[in-house]
C-alpha cells in the first residue's frame, strides 16, 4: 500500500468551543510501535477518537495510506479504553471477540463457524482460550483488556489504535500485550498506543508523539524522547523527567 499508514494535517478539535487539539500535523512510518504521550488533558484520547471519526473535528484532514479514513475502515483496528463499556453486558468473551468480525460481515449476516474459529484463534493468541465461554463481568481487569485486544486482532487490520491498553493491568498482562504488539510489528503492521508510564517508553516504542494540546514533538524515540522535549510537554511538574529520558533502555 502506498503512502504513510497515517497522515494527519492541521487537525483541530474542540469540546464546546474549548479547543483540545490545536492544528496537529504529523506522519507515522509503517511497521512501527508508536507511543502517544502527554499529561492528562493533553488530548491523547481525543486525537485517537478524532482520527477514527468518533468525534467531529473542527478542521484538518486525516489520511490512511493516502486515502480518506472512510474508505479504509476495514484495515483499521481499535482498542477503546476498558472503562468505556459496561462489562455487565450479557455476553461472553468469545462473543466480544467475534464483534471484531462484524465489519467484514456486512449487514444482516450472522457470524458463523468461520468467525467463531477466527475468534478462538485470537483468544488463544492473548492466552485467553480457556475463558471463551466466560461471562465478561467474571473476568479480571487484565483479562478484559486481553479480550479487547483479541477483538482488535480479529479485525485483522493494518493499522491499530489502542487507548491506554496498559492501564490497570498486572505485569503478566503487560508483558503479554507488549509481546503481541511486537508480533504485530513484525507482520508489518503499525500500532499507535496512548501511553502513560514514562519509564517504559524507551523499552516499548520505536517512535513517539509528544502532545500537549498541540504537537510538541514527533519522531524516533532516540531523538525525540529527550529531557528538553519532555519539559516542554509536561512543564516543570515532574522532577524526574530528565531521569526517564536518560535511563538507558532495557533496564526495567
Amino acid at each position: 500500500m502506498k503512502g504513510y499508514p497515517l497522515e494527519v494535517s492541521h487537525l483541530t478539535v474542540a469540546y464546546q468551543k474549548k479547543p483540545v487539539l490545536r492544528s496537529v500535523s504529523f506522519q507515522i512510518p509503517e511497521g512501527k510501535l508508536i507511543g502517544v504521550l502527554g499529561p492528562n488533558g493533553a488530548g491523547k484520547s481525543t486525537l485517537l477518537k478524532a482520527v477514527l471519526g468518533l468525534i467531529p473535528a473542527l478542521d484538518g484532514e486525516v489520511r490512511i495510506y493516502d486515502r480518506p479514513y472512510r474508505e479504509q475502515r476495514k484495515i483499521i483496528g481499535y482498542v477503546p479504553q476498558r472503562e468505556s463499556v459496561d462489562w455487565d453486558f450479557p455476553t461472553n468473551a468469545l462473543d466480544v471477540v467475534m464483534m471484531g468480525r462484524y465489519g467484514h460481515l456486512g449487514w444482516f449476516r450472522r457470524p458463523g463457524t468461520k468467525e467463531r474459529q477466527i475468534a478462538m484463534e485470537c483468544l488463544a493468541k492473548v492466552g485467553m482460550a480457556d475463558f471463551a465461554g466466560r461471562q465478561i463481568s467474571q473476568l479480571s481487569g487484565g483479562q478484559q483488556q486481553r479480550v479487547f485486544l483479541a477483538r482488535a486482532l480479529a479485525q485483522n487490520a493494518q493499522l491499530y489504535f489502542m487507548d491506554e491498553p496498559f492501564s490497570g493491568v498486572d505485569a503478566t498482562t503487560e508483558k503479554a500485550i507488549i509481546n503481541l504488539l511486537h508480533e504485530l510489528k513484525e507482520q508489518g503492521k503499525t500500532v499507535l498506543v496512548v501511553h502513560h508510564d514514562l519509564s517504559t517508553v524507551k523499552e516499548y516504542f520505536d517512535h513517539v508523539l509528544l502532545l500537549n494540546g498541540e504537537l510538541v514533538a514527533a519522531g524516533p524515540t532516540e531523538e525525540t524522547f529527550t529531557p528538553a522535549n519532555l519539559h516542554s510537554t509536561y512543564g516543570g511538574r515532574i522532577a524526574m523527567l530528565a531521569d526517564f529520558a536518560t535511563v538507558p533502555s532495557g533496564t526495567v
Partner: protein, 316 residues
C-alpha cells in the same frame, strides 16, 4: 369468574384482543431489552408521556380516532421530546436525568390539558381518549388490534434481522463507529422503534404505564441468562405473559384498566426472577454466601482465634 373466563376465551373478538396483547408484549419485551441495556429505560418513559400531547393534537386536527394518525402525532411529539432533552443537556449545565424529568412532566402536563379540553368538547366522549391514560384492551376495535399485532411483528422482525448490529451498538458504540457501522442511524432506529412500541401499546396499557411493559420484562429476563439472544427471547416471553394476563384479568373483572394489571403481572415475574433465578438471583447469592462463609470458617478457624487473642491483649 370461571364462566366469565371461558366466555371470554370463546369470544372471537376477545381471542383477537388476546393475540394482540400477546404480540404487543412480545414486541415490547424484545425492543425493551435493547432500551434497557443502553441505559435508556427512563427515556422510554419520557417518550410514552410525550406521546399524549401528540395524540391529542392529532385528534384535534383530524377530528377522527385513527391509530395511524395518532402514531404520527406521537412520533412527532416523541422526536420533539428527544430534541428537547438533548438541547437542554447540550446548552446548559443540566444533566440528562434532570432534563428527562423536565421534558417528561412538561409534555405530560400539556397532554392532560389538551385531553381535558377534548373531553369537554362535542365529540370528546366518542373519542375514547380517556382510555389512553391507563389503557383498556377490551375497548380496542378489531382494526386497532390488527394494527397493534402487525406493528409488533414488524418490530420483532427488524430486531431479528439487525440483531448483531443492535448488539454491538448497545455494547460498544465507539468501537462500532470506528468499524464503520452507521451508529447514528442504528441509534435513531432503535429510538424510533421504542417510540413505535410505546405508541402501539398505549391503547392497551396506557400512557402512564406503557414504559413498564418495555423495561420490566427485560430486567426480569436479565436475571436468568448471560446470553443476549436468550435474554431478548425471554424478555419477549415475559412481556407476552404480562400482556395476556393483564388483558384477561382486566376484562373479566369489572372494567379494571389494563395497564396497572399488566404492570403488576410483569412486576410479579420480576420478583420471581430476582429471587429464584440461578446465579444472579437473591436466593442463589445468599446460598453462595453461606457456603463460602462456612468454608472460610472451616479453614481459617484457628487463625481467627489466634487473631482475636492478640486483639484482646492489645485492649488491656
Amino acid at each position: 369468574m370461571l364462566a366469565d373466563l371461558i366466555r371470554w376465551f370463546t369470544d372471537p373478538n376477545m381471542q383477537w384482543i388476546l393475540a394482540g396483547s400477546l404480540l404487543l408484549g412480545l414486541g415490547s419485551g424484545v425492543i425493551g431489552s435493547f432500551t434497557f441495556l443502553r441505559k435508556q429505560s427512563l427515556l422510554g418513559d419520557a417518550l410514552a408521556h410525550a406521546a399524549l400531547p401528540g395524540i391529542c393534537i392529532a385528534f384535534m386536527l383530524s377530528g377522527v380516532k385513527s391509530v395511524g394518525l395518532f402514531m404520527l402525532g406521537a412520533i412527532i411529539a416523541g422526536m420533539l421530546a428527544t430534541f428537547g432533552i438533548s438541547a437542554i443537556t447540550r446548552y446548559s449545565r443540566i444533566k440528562q436525568d434532570a432534563a428527562l424529568g423536565i421534558v417528561l412532566s412538561v409534555f405530560f402536563g400539556i397532554g392532560i390539558v389538551l385531553l381535558t379540553k377534548i373531553q369537554h368538547s362535542g365529540n370528546g366522549n366518542q373519542s375514547g381518549l380517556d382510555k389512553y391514560m391507563f389503557g383498556q384492551a377490551a375497548s380496542m376495535m378489531l382494526s386497532d388490534v390488527y394494527m397493534m399485532g402487525a406493528v409488533s411483528v414488524l418490530l420483532i422482525v427488524v430486531c431479528a434481522l439487525l440483531f448483531k448490529e443492535f448488539k454491538l451498538v448497545s455494547f460498544d458504540p465507539g468501537f462500532a463507529r470506528g468499524m464503520g457501522l452507521k451508529v447514528a442511524f442504528l441509534e435513531q432506529l432503535l429510538l424510533l422503534m421504542t417510540v413505535i412500541a410505546v405508541v402501539v401499546g398505549i391503547q392497551a396499557v396506557g400512557v402512564v404505564l406503557v414504559a413498564a411493559l418495555l423495561i420490566t420484562p427485560a430486567v426480569a429476563a436479565r436475571y436468568w441468562t448471560d446470553a443476549l439472544g436468550l435474554m431478548v427471547v425471554l424478555a419477549g416471553v415475559f412481556g407476552a405473559l404480562s400482556g395476556v394476563t393483564g388483558t384477561l384479568i382486566s376484562s373479566t373483572l369489572s372494567n379494571l384498566p389494563t395497564g396497572p394489571v399488566t404492570v403488576l403481572a410483569a412486576t410479579a415475574l420480576f420478583f420471581v426472577s430476582a429471587v429464584f433465578a440461578p446465579n444472579r438471583g437473591l436466593l442463589a447469592k445468599w446460598l453462595r454466601h453461606l457456603r463460602s462463609r462456612s468454608e472460610v470458617q472451616k479453614y481459617a478457624g484457628r487463625a481467627v482465634v489466634h487473631q482475636s487473642q492478640t486483639v484482646e491483649r492489645g485492649t488491656e
